[in-house]
Amino acid sequence: MIHFLANPARFMRIGARLLPWCWALAALGMGAGLWFALVVSPADYQQGDSVRIMYIHVPSAWMALAVYSLIALVSAMALVWKHPLGFLIGRAAAPLGTGFTVICLVTGALWGQTSWGTWWVWDARLTSVLILFFLYLGYMALGSAFDDADRGNRAAALLAMVGFVNIPIIKFSVDWWSTLHQPASVLRMGGSAIHPSMLTPLVLMALGFVAYFLALLVLRVRAEIAGRKVAALMMAGAMGGAGEFHDN
């Protein structure tokens, strides 16, 4: 697989073919999801309409975790196979994952204000998500902290792998420590414990988020490849001999 994609030209072609489908799926999923979420699904008997925050909060939380896991995975692959594609995907995915994490934190805080009466508590779930946010920041900062881009890629990839210990902590924190936060009710052993009227919009929104993420990811990777091409051509063209130096 990785060797199949190892040619940038091929990757660009496949990405270009995938892109419209991703956009369509994203629009469809989020559109239908929002329709179900805001119109069709009922208000919660305890929480009222504020429960509708869930349809943003939960998918973005899932995405925050999934994107980080993806970064850790491609980082490991890149380090093992010494192939830069993994670095490229990881670096491209990080800002997107950070965005999802921020959305999760903000919607969670809003929700917390309405249902727990406080924006923030230092419980295990919330703290570990905050840690995830810092890890994303650290990953991005480390990756761009070296003059040698390759060195930055490798350092960031290592950090991504180290930080992966946080993912299971986030996932299981609600089970290991009694907290204010909701325990898992959709993605758990023994089947989902949530009413279908709520499950449908949730799943639709999640699908939309995934498609949206993929679309942006392909765009970003393509832009990076194009940028490299331009830089390489410019340097090769503009410089004779020792020439000018570019910090990357």
Binding site: H3, A6, N7, P8, A9, W81, K82, H83, P84, L85, L88, D147, A149, D150, R228, K229, A231, A232, L233, M235, A236, M239, G240, G241, A242, G243, F245, H246, N248
Partner: protein, 231 residues
């Protein structure tokens, strides 16, 4: 892309194959190769900035080459590497410095280790300096300590960057003798230098011969900033 780190080869020689080096996006040299047999010395020469130090780093395995591969001789033991800097701790005394590095790199047997240290101290006239912290040393004295460290290690392959920097006449002679002794015992050495006439019997590798004719940068049709063969 294959692993470019030096591998331990089957033959009893140091083999560099088709090495290319890129620093700061600039191709320094490509297609550089040589073989060094036991008892051989290879002098690296060339103008400032051509890539002598970079090549030494690649041979040592401290940095991967952009292309090509390095094969270390069987049973090299360790590699001794001496860069432009001396790598001394300002607060450690000369004796402590040598003892520490001999414990890390030198012969395992304490008796042999002590003797190796003593020989190195004697070769570079470090005796009177033994109790001085390194930060009190003059430039040439520092270099002698760094050379003493190389000598006290049990390495068969010495990689050295302008070893005679700051040495006076006696120091330079002491180094020549130490190198001759190392060679006579079947050791090998790769030495970057601007004074290639100082050593007779040594091969000379003029790096400028392999200098990148035109600057080549990241190949836009492959992924990495790599040169030469790619999967």
């Amino acid at each position: 892309m294959t692993d470019h780190r030096p591998s331990v080869g089957r033959a009893d020689r140091l083999i560099a194959r088709d090495i290319a080096c890129i620093r700061g996006g600039r191709l320094l040299f490509a297609g550089l190769g040589f073989t060094l047999a036991p008892g051989g010395v290879m002098l690296l020469t060339g103008p400032n900035g051509i890539g002598k130090s970079s090549l030494l780093g690649i041979l040592a395995g401290l940095a991967p080459p952009a292309a090509g591969s390095v094969e270390l001789p069987t049973d090299t033991g360790r590699i001794a590497y001496l860069g432009h800097g001396d790598g001394l701790k300002p607060l450690a005394t000369v004796a402590e410095t040598l003892a520490f590095w001999a414990a890390v790199n030198g012969p395992g047997d304490p008796q042999a280790r002590r003797q190796a240290i003593e020989e190195a101290m004697e070769a570079f006239a470090l005796g009177p300096l033994a109790a001085l912290p390194c930060r009190y040393l003059s430039a040439g004295q520092r270099r002698r300590v760094a050379l003493g460290r190389v000598m006290a290690g049990a390495a068969r392959l010495w990689l050295m960057d302008e070893p005679a920097t700051a040495l006076d006449g006696a120091g330079a002679r002491a180094f020549d003798q130490a190198l001759a002794g190392h060679i006579a015992a079947g050791g090998m050495a790769v030495v970057a230098t601007h004074a290639p006439n100082a050593l007779d019997g040594a091969e000379i590798l003029e790096i400028a011969r392999f200098a990148g004719t035109a600057p080549r940068f990241a190949d836009p049709d492959t992924w990495g900033p790599s040169v030469g063969q790619d999967p």
